[in-house]
């Protein structure tokens, strides 16, 4: 019944009783990722929160075939699956790599860049919870400026978040998109679209993490929503180089409004040591990004 209401595939491929945290942003997003991808998919996942969600031997919580791989190798594992499936005449199966921000922005970037440059026919998904959360919240290059982590425990992260979308755009791939679990239908639609496109497709999920960002699990959807309301996360897709706002970000762009970033920051314990200067820098960085997006959308 809800599937008709929301126009999503009804099957739940992520089974209950899994090891994801209560209120996990990835868990929520993953339901819709898998609903969109469906059965004719093979996943490959590196060491990450998702590995834990997938479960420990001999049982898995996910009813889609998946191959675990080492931390650095996700996109190469996908490349091997694509090549192997081609050799076995099973190129009808969609290969999807799903890594966290560590496995995408940091340790995984080399293999990802290689796979994208080769035009490998697969989908790479980065669920970005802005840190190494599986190991207890260490700083990654996706951690925003001003955030406390266990490796930036006093001075906070000093650098801006790395712009992975720009890096992936530099690879000349047919489809890129940003998504959020707080907007599940927008997420679902983008994955359905991605599944139909050939070539390297890159999707990012802006994933709130209650223990890592330090907020109550009940607020996961709200925090994710605020990220979009403030423009910290912009929902868009780039198809063959054409930029397009989607969903709530499209509405905000048309209305010309955005909430100030402090509304996002003040609700998370990880920002409690953020300085006023850093907050100002964050607001300016968001404003700048937003202006860039507006310019691209007009063209």
């Amino acid at each position: 019944m809800p599937e008709k209401l929301f126009k999503v595939h009804k099957e739940e491929y992520m089974l209950p009783g899994n090891r994801a945290c209560a209120g996990c942003g990835l868990s929520l997003a993953y339901r819709y990722v898998l609903k969109a991808l469906r059965e004719n998919t093979i996943l490959t996942i590196p060491a990450s929160c998702l590995t834990v969600l997938h479960g420990l031997y001999p049982t898995t919580s996910v009813a889609i075939p998946s191959l675990n791989c080492t931390f650095a190798s996700t996109a190469a594992s996908a490349s091997g699956l694509v090549a192997g499936l081609a050799a076995m005449n099973r190129s009808d199966i969609t290969v999807v790599a799903i890594a966290g921000d560590g496995g995408t922005y940091d340790i995984g970037i080399q293999a990802l860049s290689g796979a994208a440059e080769r035009g490998t026919d697969f989908i790479f998904v980065c669920y970005d919870n802005e840190g190494y959360m599986n190991t207890g919240t260490q700083r990654s290059s996706a951690t925003p400026m001003g955030a406390l982590t266990t490796t930036t425990p006093v001075l906070t992260k000093q650098q801006n978040k790395k712009d992975m979308m720009k890096i992936m755009e530099g690879h000349d791939i047919p489809f890129l998109a940003t998504t959020s679990p707080s907007f599940p239908i927008d997420l679902y639609d983008k994955f359905v679209k991605a599944k139909r496109i050939k070539g390297t497709r890159y999707l990012q999920i802006a994933t709130p993490c209650p223990p890592g960002w330090v907020f109550a699990p009940k607020d996961t959807v709200k925090i994710g929503r605020l990220a979009v309301e403030t423009g910290i996360v912009v929902l868009y897709e780039i198809e063959n180089g054409k930029f397009r706002f989607t969903g709530r970000s499209k509405t905000l762009a048309e209305k010309g409004t955005r909430a100030p970033v402090i509304q996002f920051v003040e609700r998370q314990g990880r920002f409690k040591k953020m300085s006023l200067e850093q907050l100002g820098q964050l607001q300016r960085w968001v404003d700048h990004k937003w202006a860039e997006c507006l310019k691209r959308a007009e063209v």
């Binding site: 059965e39 004719n40 998919t41 093979i42 490959t44 590995t51 834990v52 997938h54 479960g55 420990l56 031997y57 001999p58 049982t59 898995t60 996910v62 009813a63 889609i64 075939p65 998946s66 191959l67 675990n68 791989c69 080492t70 650095a72 190798s73 190469a76 594992s77 996908a78 490349s79 091997g80 699956l81 090549a83 192997g84 499936l85 081609a86 050799a87 076995m88 099973r90 199966i93 080399q110 293999a111 860049s113 290689g114 440059e117 080769r118």
Partner: protein
């Protein structure tokens, strides 16, 4: 009608891959292995070999591609050397733990720091604990034959196989090689049947986290913990000895060439001293043995062909009558001794064989090793043994003073 051509060791390896109709090849260049995958690229792009050829961005990815492709049922191959092999070290462990029949040609080259592009065997020896079968080839004919045997062995025991041969010494040296008949290879090598299930028809999660303890699955079956699963790998490697020997024997029957199974010997029966080695240094040792015999010393050679699994029984058999053993090798386990020497001694422990074993570290970083140097080393060791020196580590033709 036999097809004999003059070719390099790298070309021989490539021809082996072609005859085995490998389906996925991943490639990354590193001296002196590069021409293996270059040769294959030519065939693939001309349509002479139907294979997916993935030009990855690092050696770590090279092995990852092989792992993933092999998991879905494709026969895979890659080649590398030295730092390339080192870079994929974690993936070697992963491939063995996954029990995938991947074949890798390791063109032996020294490791840095500082850089060496020249031959020694430190690269592959340093991988001896990963769970790969390791076979060391003496000449280019053995390379092509061993690549073919490797797929047969790997796909039967579900363990990956590393075919090792000396960089430049074999990889870039031209020798006559008989190319086996393609149809006969097809009869010798049945299609690969993966044990892994990765398909939408039967969704599984492969290689997740595993607990230290056993655990029941949803159907109530008690499944392995980590250690139990890893014992299976050890058990498979130990059991692969019989398969390796049998495959070698069947290959000899069909193709007329016997490379010796786990270990070969040369003039060993009446030997008063046995030289031991792996790869081309063992071949050099046969010339040294002849030189020594000319001078009245009854020398023989034991060539270790399969280093992992270690030929424990064959080593005990080969050395049980030897009054003296001199091991020459192109590797060193820093802080201890040459790996082959240590492994030989360990195999002899408890058997009552009390033979003195002298260890020569030779040829590191491509330093030339001449047969007469080996012969001189043996004479020197025999004198030392006569003087009561049962154990010795010498770096051959090397500055060993500060």
């Amino acid at each position: 009608m036999s097809d004999v051509r003059i070719m390099t060791g790298n070309q021989a390896a490539a021809y082996g891959v072609k005859l085995c109709k490998v389906q996925v090849v991943s490639a990354y260049p590193i001296t002196p292995s590069t021409s293996v995958t270059e040769t294959i690229a030519n065939w693939v792009e001309r349509g002479e070999l139907k294979a997916e050829y993935v030009r990855v961005e690092s050696e770590h990815s090279v092995m990852t591609v092989c792992v993933a492709a092999s998991t879905v049922g494709a026969r895979t191959f890659t080649s590398t050397s030295s730092h390339g092999l080192l870079y994929m070290h974690e993936q070697l462990h992963w491939a063995a733990g996954s029990r995938l029949p991947i074949v890798l040609a390791c063109v032996n080259r020294g490791v840095g720091a500082p850089w060496s592009i020249f031959n020694d065997q430190q690269d592959s020896i340093a991988q001896r604990d990963t769970g790969w079968i390791q076979i060391y080839c003496r000449d280019n004919q053995e390379i092509i034959d061993t690549v073919i045997q490797a797929y047969r062995i790997a796909e039967q025991v579900y363990c990956p196989v590393m075919v090792c041969y000396d960089g430049f010494v074999l990889s870039h040296t031209m020798m006559p090689v008989e190319i086996p008949d393609a149809d006969k290879v097809g009869e010798f090598l049945p299609p690969y049947k993966p044990h892994t299930i990765l398909s939408p028809e039967d969704p599984r999660n492969i290689n997740p986290v595993i607990f230290p303890w056993q655990r029941r699955d949803a159907e109530g079956v008690l499944r392995d913990g980590y250690m139990d699963m890893r014992w299976k790998l050890q058990h498979a490697l130990e059991g692969s000895r019989n398969v390796i020997v049998e495959v070698c024997r069947e290959y000899a029957e069909r193709f007329g060439r016997d490379h010796g199974g786990m270990l070969w010997t040369y003039k060993a029966d009446d030997a008063e001293v046995l030289l031991a080695g792996m790869g081309s240094i063992a071949t050099e040792a046969t010339t040294a043995a002849d030189l020594l015999r000319e001078g009245g010393i009854r020398a023989g050679v034991v060539g270790v062909r399969v280093y992992r699994p270690f030929p424990r029984a064959e080593v005990r058999e080969a050395f049980h009558k030897a009054p003296a053993i001199v091991v020459f090798e192109k590797d060193i386990s820093y802080g201890y001794e040459g790996a082959l020497s240590a492994d030989i001694k360990a195999a002899l422990y408890g058997t009552g064989i009390q033979t003195p074993v002298h260890n020569y570290i030779a040829g590191l970083g491509g330093r030339d090793v001449k047969a007469n140097e080996l012969a001189e080393a043996v004479r020197s060791s025999l004198a030392a043994i006569a003087g009561g020196n049962r154990e010795q580590q010498t770096w051959l033709n090397c500055v060993t003073e500060l």
